[in-house]
C-alpha cells in the first residue's frame, strides 16, 4: 500500500497523517475536506479474503473510491481508511466478523483523492462447507442524521 502524495489530491490538503494498521504496516495519507455524496440507488459491493485483501469489487466501489479496479484488487480494504475513523471501530468489526457474525456500522471512507464519503456498511462472513473463507461487504447510502450521530460518536472515541 503506497503512501498518498499531494499529486493525488482533489484540493488543498486539510490534514496529513501516518496511519498504522493492525498488521503493523504504516501509510502516509492526506485528507481533503470535501465530501462526495453517495449516489442514490447504488450499493458498493466488495469481497475480501480472511486477511481483508480485496478480491472482488463492483463498479460503484471503483467510482466512489477513486481507485481503478486493478488498483483495488489485491490491496487491503484498509486502503479506504480515513484518519477520522477510530481504530476501535475496526477492532470491533474484525472481532464481530471473526466470530461468524454480521457487522453493521457507519464508516467514513477515504478516497484516493483525499476526499471522503460516508456509508452504512454491512459485512458478512462467507461460509462455504462450514468454513469461513472471506467476507462480503455491502455499503449503502445512510441518512444525514445517522451520519451526523456517527461522526460525533467517532470524534469522541478518537
Amino acid at each position: 500500500m503506497r503512501d498518498m502524495t499531494l499529486d493525488d489530491l482533489c484540493g488543498s490538503p486539510s490534514g496529513e497523517h501516518v496511519l498504522t494498521y493492525a498488521d503493523g504496516i504504516s501509510r502516509r495519507v492526506y485528507t481533503v475536506d470535501h465530501e462526495v455524496p453517495f449516489p442514490d440507488g447504488r450499493l458498493i459491493v466488495s469481497r475480501t479474503d480472511l486477511r481483508g485483501v480485496i478480491t472482488r469489487a463492483n463498479d460503484s466501489f471503483v467510482a466512489m473510491s477513486g481507485w481503478s479496479m486493478p488498483e483495488l484488487i489485491g490491496e487491503p480494504h484498509s486502503i479506504m481508511r480515513h484518519p477520522d475513523m477510530p481504530s476501535v471501530v475496526f477492532r470491533d468489526l474484525w472481532h464481530t466478523v471473526g466470530r461468524g457474525h454480521t457487522w453493521h456500522g457507519h464508516v467514513k471512507n477515504l478516497r484516493k483523492d483525499g476526499a471522503y464519503y460516508w456509508v452504512y456498511a454491512s459485512i458478512v462472513p462467507n461460509v462455504r462447507h462450514g468454513e469461513m473463507v472471506g467476507f462480503t461487504s455491502v455499503r449503502r447510502k445512510a441518512s444525514r442524521r445517522t451520519v451526523a450521530e456517527a461522526a460525533a460518536r467517532y470524534a469522541a472515541l478518537r
Binding site: P39, D40, G41, L43, T102, S122, S137, R140, R144
Partner: protein, 256 residues
C-alpha cells in the same frame, strides 16, 4: 391461474410470481421445451403470489424453479437447491415511483407515515426499504398496502391511495405508456448483482447437468429461441455455485 399438485413422477416447475403476466403463455412453451429435451414429464404450476409459492416450497412440491434472488437464497442455503442457469442479461432492480404531480422529488423528502403500495414480493420490499433509508425511514415508518400485482400498485398511486409505489423495475418499465406517463421515478436501484436464477431440487441432482444442457442450447434452436423470446430472455447463461453464493451473501448482508 390455479396451482395444482402434479401427479407422482411428474416434476413440478414454477416461476417466481413476479413474472410479467404477458409472459405466461411463454412459460408454458418453455415447460414443453424442457419436457421434450429432458425426456421427463414436467408440470408448470404458476402461483399468483409469493405466499402460495412459499407454501408449495414448504410442502416440497417444487422441483424446478426460476426464482428471484430472495427465494433463491433460501432455496440454495437452506434446502440445497442447485443453480442451473441465469438470464444472459438483466438484473433485479427496484423502482420507487410517485404520481407525476407528487410533492416528493427525492427520497429525502419522504417522512414517517408515508403510504406505500407494493406487491407481496419480498425481494422488492427489501430493495425498496434500503432505498428509503437515506430518508431515515425504516419498515415501521411506512404504511404498506399490499396489492395483487404491479398494475394495482400503479393504480393505488393514481387514485391517491398511496404516496409511493414499490416496483420491480422490470415490471414498472412494462407499465402501459398511459399509466407510466402519470408516474415519476423517485429512485431506481442500480445494484447490478441480484438476478433471478433457475434452480433444481437436490433430489434431482443427477438430472442437473441434463437440465443445464437443455437450457444452454435453447437459443440455438428455432423453437427454443421463440420460447425464450416469449418469456423476455435472450439466452441462458451458466451460473456457478459460487456466483449464487456471492449473491446470497449480499442478500443476507442487506437483510440482517
Amino acid at each position: 391461474m390455479t396451482a395444482h399438485v402434479p401427479p407422482a413422477g411428474v416434476l413440478g416447475f414454477t416461476v417466481s410470481p413476479d413474472f410479467d403476466i404477458r409472459h405466461l403463455p411463454g412459460w408454458y412453451v418453455v415447460n414443453t421445451w424442457l419436457q421434450r429435451q429432458s425426456g421427463r414429464t414436467i408440470a408448470l404450476q404458476m402461483f399468483e403470489d409469493f405466499t402460495s409459492l412459499h407454501h408449495a416450497i414448504e410442502e416440497d412440491r417444487v422441483d424446478l424453479i426460476f426464482a428471484n434472488a430472495f427465494d433463491a437464497a433460501q432455496l440454495v442455503r437452506e434446502r440445497g437447491y442447485l443453480p442451473l442457469a441465469k438470464p444472459h442479461a438483466g438484473t433485479d432492480e427496484a423502482v420507487i415511483a410517485v404520481p407525476a404531480s407528487s410533492a416528493y422529488h427525492s427520497v429525502e423528502d419522504l417522512r414517517p407515515g408515508v403510504r406505500a403500495a407494493a406487491t407481496d414480493n419480498p425481494e422488492v420490499e427489501l430493495m425498496s426499504l434500503i432505498l428509503i433509508e437515506p430518508a431515515d425511514l425504516a419498515r415501521a415508518d411506512v404504511r404498506v398496502t399490499v396489492q395483487p400485482n404491479h398494475v394495482s400498485v400503479a393504480k393505488a398511486l393514481l387514485y391517491d391511495e398511496a404516496d409511493v409505489g414499490f416496483f420491480l423495475a422490470a415490471t414498472f418499465d412494462d407499465l402501459s405508456p398511459d399509466v407510466s406517463s402519470q408516474l415519476r421515478v423517485l429512485v431506481r436501484s442500480e445494484i447490478f448483482v441480484i438476478t433471478h436464477v433457475f434452480l433444481v431440487h437436490p433430489r434431482l441432482a443427477a438430472l442437473a447437468d441434463t437440465f443445464r444442457r437443455c437450457l444452454m442450447v435453447m437459443d440455438t434452436d428455432a423453437k427454443g429461441l421463440a420460447a425464450l423470446d416469449d418469456v423476455g430472455i435472450d439466452r441462458w447463461e451458466p451460473v456457478e455455485q459460487e456466483e449464487v453464493e456471492f449473491m446470497i451473501d449480499l442478500m443476507h448482508a442487506l437483510q440482517e
